[in-house]
Symmetry: C2
Subunit: 712 residues, 2 copies
């Protein structure tokens, strides 16, 4: 080295040492999610060279601005010595219009990424019909780069499978989150509208990066206060932050709000004063939030008020609200998650019974939001029979990203395989191939409104989702709402590459963990089609013995029906006949013990303890086997993860390691408590070679969790 | 530059650019508190040169390990080319023992920092009697470096003013925080003991850096569940993290815990079964936490159970608990914050009346914890009359760091001047100069137990305290508990230097803001000795009109007593005679309108609206003047802060800017609502030239905050 540069060299080296030493202190806490870009300077320099000069003729548009900023962030503002360029824009830009790209194929939100030579410069074009599509394209380009999929020449055309890609926050106004396991609500209502936490911007970035374009800010069990002027101002400030990222704000509406706010005497949807109140309220909201998305409503469900309180139907209620937002371009999402307080009918049948007769009655800016299964976000449910059964009504599917029934944040369960299982299920409602996905995509009945909603797992925790692996569920929800072709496995792989490493030595074991994780949870919680076996209230841990709750369908014993002879809920013609709500080919498959499959066996059938299953084991033996398999599955995950020590940064590795230890202990608890109970109720001895539960049934029954999170 | 190094140069420059570009993304969110060390590489290199080789013969001790690690962190591990060294240790280390330092002068927690030449090397010695003292010394060295006070040769001897320097967390087991305005509890109980958030370590570092040596983990309004085996295990895991930092864990004990846990039939302290239960419970806790500090108790206060429920005294209760922890070296901190549900006596007098007769009756491991003033953490109160009045009983002072009554996290109020005002107050109980500080330091009556408690303002918010400036209150509490000589102003200055900048252009205006801030709050909330004027429940915003609460002393009207003639609480001989609880010279000063001073005027006196004050204004005119002055003071802070744009990083500058805007708006609200009310009740017109309130009194009365934080 030349002497005269030595001092400067030493200084620079010192700077580099200092800075590198400082960076890791809090860089590995998960805050960056899947948008870590490359920590490796060489890769960053290469990406900067590839992106080159970032150009657009629409630099005045807020979405184009953030798209350009994201490309610069990914390359840390490095301007590499290159003649390459990236050109962003819509057809409103002459430079893009001149390219005559097939933008008619990408719809409102899609984009085209194409390598072209413009004025002699190798250029990556990111084009779309709207600025937000350009933003999605920029994020897709960065995703390709991060996952190693950025070929030297690219030609990508993407458009999303559904139009409404929404998060549902079950966030209360006091900042608690119902069924939230990642701290408080990220909405710091108290400081709004005066202060908008910079974190809202990172929330918007993360969501836009996976195509999410709307967010319902408050809990479906809504407070009337969320519709007061003070709260509209708070929502408006959030909307201002989210707008450049193409994310519209929606609110959950409490049906009885005008009465509770003492501004009307009734909430009867056919009362003109009520309609007038909602019209004026919609006007007020749209003055503050010109692109307000609309209302989400949980009505006449689990104690919530609704139009039935006045002898009116769900459609009467939805249509009245829809009329209020229609002049502003808003929509109403009306939830079909209902079951009666008095109806003795099988709970799994009630939503179908109540909503199917309303098909064709809803206004054209109403979409009915249906949970993936007929009960309530259990580890495994068959698809909801409403899918395909309301052809004249757009239906959006509601998934739960937060893991109310799958172990909260400390159990690792990658949910995309569960969602995929539902989406690929064939409803047969218009012949074979009428999958739930096609119904939801609106392809079957050509609906204008289409959508997927995910109950958010986002909170104030530094890592956003309560655990690193729960970030994958947020990510996967967005990617599945966008892409009709990416599988759960594809999505796992791209998430791992962006979150941990592209090294196959990391990707392969982590992918194996993720892909097996949900099935392990099913095995140690609700094997063989059992469901709703959890403890009361907080829904954490086993409670198959619970039988003393006020309503029959709140009790686990209602669902498993175990006694000395057998176990399972007969939903065939001889039982509740819930199978009849499915199209005949599906109904036949579910109704037949030979074709239903072990995964839904006890959901649809009552089976004797000693009957032999396909495995050759008795039902009782198979049940115990599955519980053991679930525990073993968690053990496998622990071992795989332990072997990754040193390949994953210490902070994230340590968190996952701790959580897997908790999960294994609790999988054992589920297994032991459930086996102890079913042995007792069945009067069966444990199969030979089975490890006995560690504690007595009474001891398991005595376990309580008085301060569990998410239960408000 | 030499050509052959050009490529490497470019690479290094690129690396530096990348890294510098990445660092600021989330580096300025306040997480690093006052431990930012030097972002400036040159200063870091200089500090590394000064510290040199870090040596100790006690590298096996956990506290020495963290002390050495902190020195390395401050210099980012740079080993500078220097022959200097830093030698750490206790007299157990031969190298330290050989120096014959006057360690007899520093007590258990103090330290000596001394520049010496050892074996020909310029060495900074950090010596103490216990490893934790060495840790405090290391932090002090770094504080000197960060504040520009590290002279080339140093000779510092420090010992703390009190032995117990404790945080009181009012944290509930469901992770809510009573009177918490910075998110949830940092204790993620649900994940404990399986997972200890890495943040606990940073909590420990921050507290150790300012000398805090104990923390009460749970709310004084305690749940019995905190004493179950499950929760003891959680507390033990936290204790394991805190131990190397010299921080002992304490728990708040619910008096009725054994009854609520169904393990005893009574909680009578004189019942042997009750004493046996607590003995066994203490044994159980000490098995899990060998250095457990002891119990904090709020008994027979605001509805909490206590020994008086069984006809026993506070001393009966405290002594029974004290006996349980005594064999293990534990203590009991018994709160004197009591007022009766039935006693019609002036609330300000009740704690004194109840506790003074118990002087000399408490066991020797009991310390009575007394709030700084006789009511409840109001913006200004005279010192509590118990200080100096219980010579045979050690008293620790309780300050509230969280700002329940001073505007939560969005109002800037530096509390150290308020605490200082109380500490320097002269009780005259043993003649002139018997300050509250001397009483608390145990110097007056030579008590072994001495302490200060601060109700923590720490939560899960990224910035720990809800706002950047509230970090200063945490910092100042620790520093005041340690140092008997540092003034509120000294502490503000050192906090600013470490948190923002050593540049006088920053320090001077920020110091001016801080030092004026609390007085501004007094002016716009409770001027002239008024007190307890806030809205009900959440305690946010004005509510001087509130008169309908169940107990008289819950109502603001109880405190201000305004009517058409005058305002104020007569606590002279002609009134409640609360002045008589103070030593005669103090009582005389407070009782005399001419000597009481405007700041306590209406605390002790009832004054006619038209009476003339020292200012020459009428009382009514002065009241309005003070409200206006408070609002103007916030305006001053806003202007000073706005002028610092560009000198403070954008993220922290923006947060403070937003909060000051909120504060100014709300100071105006306090001023307007209070003036509207007092004008109404007094029947006085506004003084000439006074701006009329923006809204009507009824409108102010109608303001509600149904989802305010901290109110559980």
């Amino acid at each position: 080295m030349a002497d005269r540069t030595g001092g400067l060299w030493a200084w620079l080296a010192a700077v580099a040492m200092v800075v590198f030493a400082v960076v890791p202190a809090h860089a590995e806490d998960g805050y960056e999610l899947w948008m870590r870009y490359d920590a490796d300077p060489a890769a960053k320099v290469a990406l900067a060279a590839r992106i080159g000069e970032v150009r657009s003729e629409e630099g005045a548009d807020a979405s184009i601005v953030v798209a350009m900023a994201e490309l610069r962030r990914a390359t840390s503002g490095l301007s590499a010595d290159t003649d390459r360029a990236t050109l962003l824009g819509t057809a409103a830009s002459p430079a893009i219009a001149a390219l005559r790209l097939p933008l008619d194929r990408v719809g409102e939100d899609g984009f085209i990424l194409r390598s072209m030579t413009l004025d002699g410069r190798p250029t990556t074009v990111i084009a779309a019909n709207r600025p937000v599509g350009v933003l999605y394209g920029a994020f897709h380009l960065l995703r390709l780069a991060q996952t190693g999929g950025l070929a030297d020449r690219i030609d990508v055309i993407e458009r999303p499978r559904v139009g409404l890609r929404l998060l549902n926050h079950w966030d209360n106004l006091d900042r608690t989150v119902e069924r939230g396991y990642s701290g408080q609500s990220i909405w710091d209502w108290w400081k709004l509208p005066g202060h908008a936490d910079p974190r809202y911007t990172d929330y918007a970035r993360a969501n836009a990066s996976i195509g999410i374009n709307g967010t319902v800010l408050n809990n479906v069990n809504a407070s009337a206060d969320s519709l007061t002027a003070a709260w509209i101002a708070k929502a408006a400030r959030v909307a201002d932050v989210l707008r450049p990222y193409g994310i519209r704000v929606y609110l959950s509406a409490r049906w009885s709000a005008p009465v509770e706010l003492k501004e009307t005497a009734t909430a009867d949807p056919l009362d003109p004063a009520v309609a007038a109140w909602w019209n004026a309220k919609a006007d007020e909201i749209y003055r503050a939030i010109p692109d307000f998305g609309g209302f989400l409503v949980k009505a006449n469900s689990e104690g919530q008020p609704g139009p039935q309180d006045y002898g009116r139907s769900h459609a009467d209620g939805a249509n009245m609200l829809a009329a209020a937002v229609k002049p502003h371009g808003g929509i109403v999402m009306w939830r079909a998650f209902v079951y009666s307080e008095t109806d003795p009918e099988d709970r799994a049948k009630q939503a179908y019974s109540e909503f199917r007769p309303l098909d064709g009655v809803f206004a054209d800016n109403v979409i009915v939001q249906v949970k993936n299964g007929p009960i309530d976000f259990q580890p495994r449910e068959p698809f909801h029979p409403l899918f395909g059964a309301m052809p004249k009504t757009p239906l959006m599917i509601e998934f739960q990203i937060t893991k109310e029934y799958l172990g909260f944040a400390t159990h690792l369960a990658y949910l995309a395989p569960m969602w995929e299982e539902v989406l690929v299920a064939d409803t047969h409602t218009r012949g074979p191939g009428t999958t739930v996905a096609k119904v939801v995509e609106g392809a079957v009945d050509r609906h204008r409104l289409t959508g997927m909603a995910g109950v958010a797992n986002i909170g104030s925790d530094r890592n956003w989702s309560g655990s690193i692996f729960d970030q994958a569920n947020w990510y996967a929800f967005g990617r599945m709402a966008w892409s009709g072709s990416a599988t759960a496995q594809d999505i796992a792989r791209e998430w791992i590459a962006q979150t941990f490493s592209r090294d196959l030595a990391v990707v392969a074991p982590v992918e194996a963990m993720m892909m097996a994780s949900r099935e392990a949870v099913v095995d140690y919680m609700t094997p063989l089609g059992l469901t709703h076996l959890m403890a009361t209230g907080h829904h954490y841990g086993p409670g198959p013995w619970v039988s003393d709750l006020a309503r029959p369908e709140w009790n686990p014993v209602y669902y498993h029906r175990a006694d000395g002879d057998g176990i399972g809920f007969d939903r065939t013609r001889g039982g509740s006949n819930a199978v009849a709500q499915y199209a005949p080919p599906v109904a036949r498959r579910f109704a037949d013990r030979r074709t239903v499959g072990d995964e839904y066996l006890l959901w649809f059938h009552r089976v004797g303890w000693d009957e032999t299953l396909a495995s050759g084991r008795s039902l009782w033996g198979e049940l115990v086997h599955r519980y053991d398999r679930g525990v073993a599955g968690v053990g496998d995950m622990r071992r795989r993860w332990a072997a990754l020590e040193g390949r994953i940064d210490a902070e994230r590795h340590g968190e996952v390691r701790d959580f897997l230890a908790i999960q294994e202990k609790e999988a054992m608890w589920w297994r032991d408590a459930s086996i102890a109970y079913f042995a007792d109720v069945s009067g069966r001895a444990l199969p030979a070679g089975t490890r006995a539960p560690a504690r007595s049934l009474d001891e398991y029954k005595a376990i309580s969790h008085p301060h569990a999170p998410g239960h408000h």
